[in-house]
Amino acid sequence: MSTTAPQAETSAVAPSRGMRFTGWAANYVDERTSASTAVKALGRKIFPDHWSFMLGEVALYSFIVILLSGTFLTFFFDPSMTEVEYEGSYVPLQGIPMSVAYHSALDISFEIRGGLLMRQVHHWAALLFVASIGLHMLRVFFTGAFRKPREFNWIVGFLLFVMAMALGFTGYSLPDDLLSGNGLRIIDGMIKAVPVAGAWISYLLFGDEFPGTDIIPRLYVLHIMLLPAITIALIGIHMVLLIVNKHTQFAAPGRTNDNVVGSPVLPGFAAKAGGFFFIVFGVIVLIASFFTINPIWNYGPYDPSPVSAGTQPDWYIGFADGALRLIPPHLDWVDPLGYTWPFGVLIPLVGLLVFLAAVALYPFFEAWVTGDKREHHIAERPRNAPVRTAIGAAGVTFYAALWAAASSDLIATHFRLSIEGVIHALQFATVAGPFIAYFITKRVCLALQRKDREIALHGFESGRIVRLPGGEYIEVHEQLDDFERWRLVSFDEYQPIMIRPNAQGRITVAQRARAGLSRWFFEDRIAPVTKGELESQAHH
């Protein structure tokens, strides 16, 4: 068989007569795709290991679960707002007028085997998706993994976070039940507050006055096509940049800024990550089998008049809802031309946008303040960047206060407090909390650094008490070995920028601002232990 066939195929085939099917298939594919190049480049690529690197994986895998369960749901869901009378098997709603969308969501839950399971898988996976993105972002922030060269990937990840919220909100609205309809009503109210064009934007979005009969089909197109397409594209970019930049790793003996230490994709990492996908999927299905989420049949179809107490959005919209609740009353302002500025809605709206913009742009701000143009591949321990960690803690506190405010009424009823008291406390927490959190976190970081220094220099308390000949008792300290010590001493150290005149001999305002910020970042700092210190300590 090896004599007559021309060129490539013969040469690949000739050496082994007992060629197996896999070999033949691999050759067949490679000759048409150059797949071996990709395998060569990626097959033994090294991925470092740390439990916190799993958070992004959870986000990716729950998104795949969302795609799979969502596709199933599209086969049965009908996003029409045409009014029909309910004729399904759920007795309490029989004969009640409702939209086709709500009817078909009920049918998925009650008439289709596994339909309720898939709805719950989809909803639980969505909640997990946003949660894991949030935690993943916190991990990246607090370890400084957004630093050069990963600033772009931070932005891509941030956009994915926004997409996740948008996907969540559009999906939450689709069943057209009472709860989600009230959510849309709130969105409508916020849009109407937009200066100049608010009433028009709302009118165009809803296709009529609120609620109209277009919004559900329009959100459906966004939810199942446009937003997922953008999200998939962004995930693609996120992954490509991850491969180009390679993953960060935590400081450990042998690991440097110039290497990656971990397990290769094939087989170890692929098996572990692939297995982890099934675990995430399995856990989501397990939760969906036992725990109800969004029981739309309890809420009834949307009607602008009724609403139940204790209503809450899905958790990731909570911070926006909380911001709306915390603003003080009487903030409408009619300008001299007669136009209305609803500051009671605009201030929370703009505040949230500023907060999100600050999150997105932080890497560039820190890079400018530190003036650090090096590449960073070692994930920092949060304590070793006290000011950044403190800023992060302030941001988390701000978000948490707004988030808690979305449950202000439930907090008041559960703990038997007055709603006014809860709101005033949360208003205080929103404004003062970030400063308090900043101060405490920074001090804790510096204290932990001091403790690290102490341990690196003097060793750790062994718990062994020794009585000296003179009668004095001491506790014996045991020195760390070099490997343990390395984790405590291997961090970057900075000093504040000096103000220097530029080429024209002038000191610019920007230069002054930068020097001030740099002092803020690095004035209080703990230097890592040096060799000299360690040696002189050893002689004691």
């Binding site: 399971l117 109407k192 399995g282 009724p306 609403v307």
Partner: protein, 359 residues
């Protein structure tokens, strides 16, 4: 990926750090690099796993993993069995729960079996020690950067992109202009009327009876006892063929009766109530939720969405929460038959504030 760095400029990331330190005089970078910093001690001795040391344990792990994969197969079969054996019976909620649970447990077993098995395989049996790969600077090699610049300048020369500026600028202008029709196309997302006019009017007008929500039966003034509250829609709304929800979203009203001596009424609105019976828009002036909770002892209305509170005794003034304005009052009267009717439409737009609201 290493192909991208095979040029002469393929330095490691660490080299760049050293280079930058040389430039520190000019650069404002302020990383401190100490001469006597402690050096990386290199890799610690490898710790072997039990499966590396004990062939029995290795065999045991292999059996455990196979068992997990086998359980996964059983789970998938069970899921199909549950699908067939536990169908949903119409009207029986219990069967939905059973179907949901057993199907879910089967699928869970199918998934977790594979997942835990694969992770265990990876951690216990696959080649255990860590491997090292070199990092390179992310930037392209000097050679490829030079070549990229060269390509751009060749392209520029061949096309005359910078030289023929008229052509270039008109092209940019054309590119900016092309999406404009796409934006214009979206105008018909909504019918051509002016939303502002719509927002300023509701179904209420002089003589329209106040009726119960949702039944649409009219309300006699004598039915409204002190302390009671009615959810109200205008007469005819329940029978609307189209725009029922849109009209309801503007016209929903709360009707309450307070003891006359507890009602503080402004002079210009004294005729808007009837014997202590007052009617207010149910649509919150904050962002439009229905203000559905009435506390009859204090005469306060509470919006369940964002907890704005309105004092019914004082023309629904905002006493707490994010709302900016009082709820609009519907002027009411009683007709010959004793039924409550509206005197007119609301005298201001209901619901959330918008730009043209006060015009």
């Amino acid at each position: 990926m290493s192909d991208a760095h095979d040029g002469p400029g393929g330095e490691t990331a660490g080299t760049a750090v050293a280079q930058l330190d040389d430039h520190q005089a000019q650069a404002p970078a302020v990383a401190v690099v100490r001469a006597d910093r402690i050096e990386n001690p290199g890799f610690p001795p490898e710790r072997l796993r039990v499966t590396d040391l004990d062939p029995k344990k290795e065999k045991q792990a292999e059996r455990t993993i196979s068992l997990l994969f086998f359980l996964s197969i059983i789970g998938s079969v069970l899921a199909v069995a549950a699908y067939i054996l536990f169908p949903i019976e119409e009207g029986d909620f219990g069967t939905i729960r059973i179907n949901n649970m057993l199907l879910g447990v089967g699928i869970t077993l199918g998934l977790l079996g594979i997942g835990i098995g694969a992770v265990h395989w990876s951690k216990a049996l696959m080649h255990g020690h860590e491997e090292v790969e070199e990092r390179h600077l992310t930037r392209g090699s000097d050679a490829s950067r030079e070549r990229a610049v060269e390509i751009f300048s060749e392209a520029n020369k061949e096309s005359g992109f910078t030289r023929r500026s008229l052509m270039r600028n008109t092209m940019i202008g054309a590119l900016i202009a092309t999406p404009i029709p796409a934006i214009a196309l979206f105008r018909d997302l909504a019918p051509a009327e002016d939303p502002v006019a719509l927002l300023k009017h509701t179904m209420w007008e002089a003589g329209v009876r106040l009726t119960r929500d949702p039944s649409g039966t009219p309300i006699k003034a004598s039915d409204v006892t002190i302390g009671s509250a009615f959810h109200v829609i205008p007469e005819g709304l329940a029978e609307l063929e189209s725009h029922r929800l849109e009209e309801k979203a503007k016209a929903a009203v709360l009707l309450m009766r307070l003891p006359v001596d507890e009602l503080n009424e402004r002079e210009d609105r004294a005729s808007w109530s009837y014997d202590g019976i007052v009617a207010y828009s149910k649509i919150c002036t904050h962002v439009g939720c229905p203000v559905a909770l009435y506390e009859q002892q204090t005469h306060h209305l509470l919006c369940p969405c964002h907890q704005s509170q309105f004092d019914v005794a004082n023309h629904c003034e905002v006493i707490f929460g994010p709302a900016a304005r009082p709820l609009p009052q519907l002027p009411i009267a009683v007709d010959d038959e004793g039924y409550l009717i509206a005197q007119s439409d609301f005298t201001e737009p209901v619901g959330p504030s918008f730009w043209e609201r006060a015009l």
